[in-house]
């Protein structure tokens, strides 16, 4: 039966993370973020992981995605 592929899930998680980091961690993107500015993406993930007391890897692991999916306040965690 049609299950989501690993690639589908990864793409969905990356989109979730981009939206999340833009909204709450001032991630700047020109729409080509993943090719041109991967370091910034990773740095923002680190910042977020540190804030939430997660293991700081700079990678989009399952625990990081789980926290990103939690309901939350819409005010950014960092200064704009």
């Amino acid at each position: 039966f049609p299950a989501a592929t690993k690639a589908d899930i990864e793409e969905k998680n990356i989109q979730l993370a981009e939206t999340y980091l833009k909204r709450y961690y001032d991630l700047e993107t020109d729409g080509k973020l993943r090719r041109t500015n991967a370091n910034s993406f990773s740095e923002k993930i680190r910042e977020m992981q540190e804030f939430f007391g997660l293991k700081v890897t700079g990678k989009l692991d399952s625990e990081t995605v789980r926290v990103m999916e939690q309901p939350r306040c819409g005010v950014p965690d960092v200064a704009s």
Binding site: Y24, F51, F52, G53, K55, V67, Q70, P71, R72, C73, G74, V75, D77, A79
Partner: protein
């Protein structure tokens, strides 16, 4: 805690608020009460006073709205974003908006309006997000019992940093979030769960997986919203793949993330006499198919197969577990040892030789 950059704050202590509209999810009176109580959270610990007005423009305007509501910060439908508020200032400054697409409640079945409003009003007063997971100003929603809510100390420190202490003669203090290697933390209950170990303390539990170096701190309510805090005893029965949690004369059975239907039940259904008011600690002894319940200086044996307490119990703990003379707060079994926790210490008890082998600090399992 964290103050909003630039330290924006109101230059007066008498602030007004106005409820612009209501959510259809709740009775209007319940919304009024939730909002008033959310302001009281802050006025109780600071010199701030909040007065509701019905006409004109208030300092803090409160509205329910869905999707794009013309403030350049659209909501996103159910879940995700719940609410937002603006830092102190003129116009939209201080205003709080709640996503109408959420299910707002006065209880715990949905998003509790009081808890979310109290958080948002923290922003309205100039507070930013805290990285203390137990703080009200932590950015993610945590289901807490609104009836027993006490403003955590981290948030008290934050608001008093901006506005000073309360002028009330009684200075309230709030609960603090335990830190992992704090030697003052005492565990209320400990249990294994499918290879992990869970350490309960107050509103929280630490979850330690044998293959990770770091234990993870969670709110009990985040996993099981209907469970009480301050669990008193817990044990895992691997035969039924359940953990049982005890508080007072009630107990709950959990299967993974789910509370088993039909619980809570009364401990008297297990056969305890009415003189037993609560269980201090519990552990399942797999080799015997028995669960030991520790109550004061005695313990009881429960036969999991017969589903009855064994005769000739209770017995003295110190008699059958030589060396265990302190009050038992928590106990669990691992690798042929029973680990008895009493205050800040734990006693490694060899079941076979019936001796205490080591005495250790209680937090050694958490990598401390």
């Amino acid at each position: 805690y964290s103050i909003t950059p630039g330290r924006p704050a109101w230059d007066k202590t008498d602030l007004t608020y106005r409820i612009i509209n209501y959510t259809p999810d709740m009775e209007e009176a319940d919304v009024d009460r939730a909002i008033a109580n959310a302001f009281k959270v802050w006025s109780d610990v600071s010199p701030l006073k909040f007065t509701r007005i019905y006409d004109g423009t208030a300092d803090i305007e409160i509205a329910f709205a869905a999707g794009d509501h013309s403030d350049n910060s659209p909501f996103d439908g159910p879940d995700g974003l719940l609410a937002h508020a603006f830092q102190p200032g003129k116009g939209i400054g201080g205003d709080a908006h709640f996503d109408e697409d959420e299910k707002w409640t006065k209880g715990t079945n949905g998003y509790n309006l009081f808890l979310v409003a109290a958080h948002e009003f923290g922003h309205s007063l100039g507070l930013s997000h805290s990285d203390d997971p137990g703080a009200l100003m932590f950015p993610t929603y945590s289901s807490d019992d609104p009836n027993t809510f006490r403003l955590p100390q981290d948030d008290i420190n934050a608001i008093q940093d901006l506005y000073g202490a309360s002028i009330n003669p009684v200075k309230p203090t709030g609960p603090t979030t335990p830190t992992i290697c704090d030697s003052n933390v005492i565990f209320d209950a400990i249990t294994t769960l499918r290879g992990e170990i869970m350490f309960f303390t107050d509103r929280f539990f630490w979850r330690k997986h044998p293959q990770t170096t770091q234990a993870e701190l969670n709110f009990i309510k985040s996993f099981w919203p209907s469970l009480p805090t301050k669990i008193e005893a817990a044990y895992e029965n691997p035969e039924t793949d359940q953990i049982l949690l005890f508080k007072g004369s009630k107990y709950w059975a959990l299967n993974g993330y789910d509370i088993v239907n039909g619980y809570p039940k009364s401990i008297y259904q297990l056969g305890f006499p009415k003189t037993v008011k609560k269980i201090d600690a519990a552990v399942y002894i797999e080799e015997k198919g028995k669960t030991y319940f520790f109550v004061g200086d005695k313990y009881w044996s429960y036969d999991e197969e017969r589903k009855a307490l064994d005769k000739s119990f209770p017995r003295e703990i110190a008699e059958d577990f030589p060396g265990i003379t302190q009050k038992v707060h928590a106990v669990f079994q691992k690798n042929g040892f029973l680990y008895f926790f009493s205050g800040r210490w734990q006693y490694e008890f060899n079941i076979a030789s019936k001796r205490v082998k080591r005495v250790m600090k209680n937090n050694s399992w958490l990598g401390c």
